[in-house]
Amino acid sequence: MTNLLEAKGLRAAYGETKVLHGLDFAVRQGGVTALLGANGAGKTTTLRAICGIVRTQGEILLGDTRIDGKATEDIVRLGVAHVPEGRGTFMELSVEENLRLGAYTRPARQATEDFGLMFDYFPRLKERYKQQAGTLSGGEQQMLAIARALLLRPRLLLLDEPSFGLAPLIVQEIFRILARIKQDAGVSILLVEQNAAIALEFAEHAYVLETGRIVMAGSSADIGKDEGIRRSYLGY
């Protein structure tokens, strides 16, 4: 199986504070890879590093293209969609405008066709189409963020804690939809989650991070079975 994304010796820092200390990891083509770990392990920073939001050292390859050091806008245009921590909703704009922005880099006609697909995944967004996005509930904003990212027709989808702050039922709903998306869209996914149980169920592969280092890598099944890892790093 080929890798869509590959990071070699990836380091990142916020000012003087080093957060990632040389990560090697890969996201397989068409698969779901999870990044697990406690608060402050560097999961979010890893996603931000891939998108060029933080300064990095080391190599990041998307397919055959080196994307480290590129501007965020250019990385996005190469097909990397990022559902950021906190969902990144354009609060002042309508749901429709949020979706239009998702398809900003693509020809308008194509995008409008994709809107139908998004409403199929997320019927609630259709109900709220003309509403100001800031008035949506947390779960709806998460759906909006995922739809916005998918409208880019990405090769790689980066998901930062889609379960964050949501009621368990809503989390289940979102992961049910994500499973459908994974099947339909052929998009590769890198998932960051605190909720390790749900992430391991969804992903085929996983990396466990601790304070900016990878402490374990393997198939989700193996990591889920490893009692020690589960207790020390995943907390369940």
Partner: protein, 290 residues
């Protein structure tokens, strides 16, 4: 009496349109950067000189105006790229310093290139009263031009992809980058548009107040009052505020304080808004649920 009041209101709306345009230019830059561009007025004055130069070279009025708008747009974009861009993460005072510096520099450049004498500026509109004598031809024409500008700007922001991207970049730069919007260029475009709008406002007001390097300094104050009154982060509010200030200024000048204290009215409005309702009448009301 009633006819007099009506007349004052109408001509107040005509000047209010100019304030509305400049207020809109201020708001566009404010929304994106949270700074008030104090140099907006001087930029508009400089643009008006450019238009006058074209007219003196023998170009038809509207061609000269279009030329001035295009050149002003380029100047606006350049100022953002060259001067403001390096200060994107600098403290507020650094930007304020640049704005004040720009104000002084552009003012002096106007004087240096085009000298300090007061010049006449032509109006493309007929020179006789219209609408039963309530408005001069120029007042009516310039109001129409202002409305066309404001409506075009509205349609641009509301219904074009680029307009949406510019709004998005102003509201949420990091999310905008994540959908592929080139945020830096959106800011530069905003500066360009603001400069272009200023150019039109300058050319519309110059036939009334005559052209000299300080032409816009008072107008900028009224525009700022209008922007604050309507809400400095609301384009619609700024436009309505601009019109309102024009009417208040005219009525106040005619019946209340006399022409000498008209500018004081603008300051009173600014202070009153800041004390009573700092967000302005249509200031941002963002609903957010957590």
């Amino acid at each position: 009496m009633l006819a007099g009041v009506l007349h004052q209101i109408m001509s107040g709306l005509a000047t209010g349109g100019i304030y509305a345009s400049v207020a809109l230019a201020l708001v566009m830059i404010y929304q994106a950067t949270h700074h008030v561009n104090f140099a907006q007025g001087e930029m508009a004055t400089f643009s008006t000189y450019i238009a006058l130069t074209f007219i003196n070279l023998g170009f038809p009025y509207w061609v000269a105006l279009a030329g001035a708008v295009v050149i002003s747009f380029v100047i606006g974009v350049t100022i953002e790229r060259v001067l403001m861009r390096p200060l994107a993460n600098a403290p507020v005072l650094a930007s304020v310093g640049v704005f004040i510096g720009l104000l002084l520099i552009i003012n002096s450049m106007s004087g240096f290139f085009f000298d300090y004498t007061i010049k006449q500026f032509p109006s493309p509109f007929p020179d006789h009263p219209m609408l039963g004598g309530y408005l001069s031809g120029h007042e009516l024409g310039s109001t129409a031009v202002t409305l066309i500008v404001l409506i075009s700007v509205y349609l641009f922001f509301r219904h074009t992809r680029l307009g949406l991207a510019m709004r998005a970049a102003a509201f949420n730069a990091s999310s905008s980058r994540l959908v592929g919007v080139r945020v830096g260029w959106m800011l530069a475009l905003g500066w360009g548009l603001a400069a272009g709008i200023g150019a039109i406002a300058g050319c519309m007001v110059a036939p009334v107040v005559f052209l000299d390097p300080n032409m816009m300094s008072g107008i900028l104050l009224y525009a700022f009052a209008g922007a604050l009154l309507g809400g400095i982060d609301s384009p619609l509010g700024a436009v309505l505020g601009g019109f309102a200030v024009g009417v208040i200024e005219n009525l106040g000048g005619a019946y209340l304080v006399g022409t000498e204290l008209k500018l004081t009215l603008a300051l009173i409005i600014i202070v009153a808004v800041l004390i009573i309702k700092p967000s302005g009448l249509l200031g941002r009301r963002v609903y957010s649920r957590v």
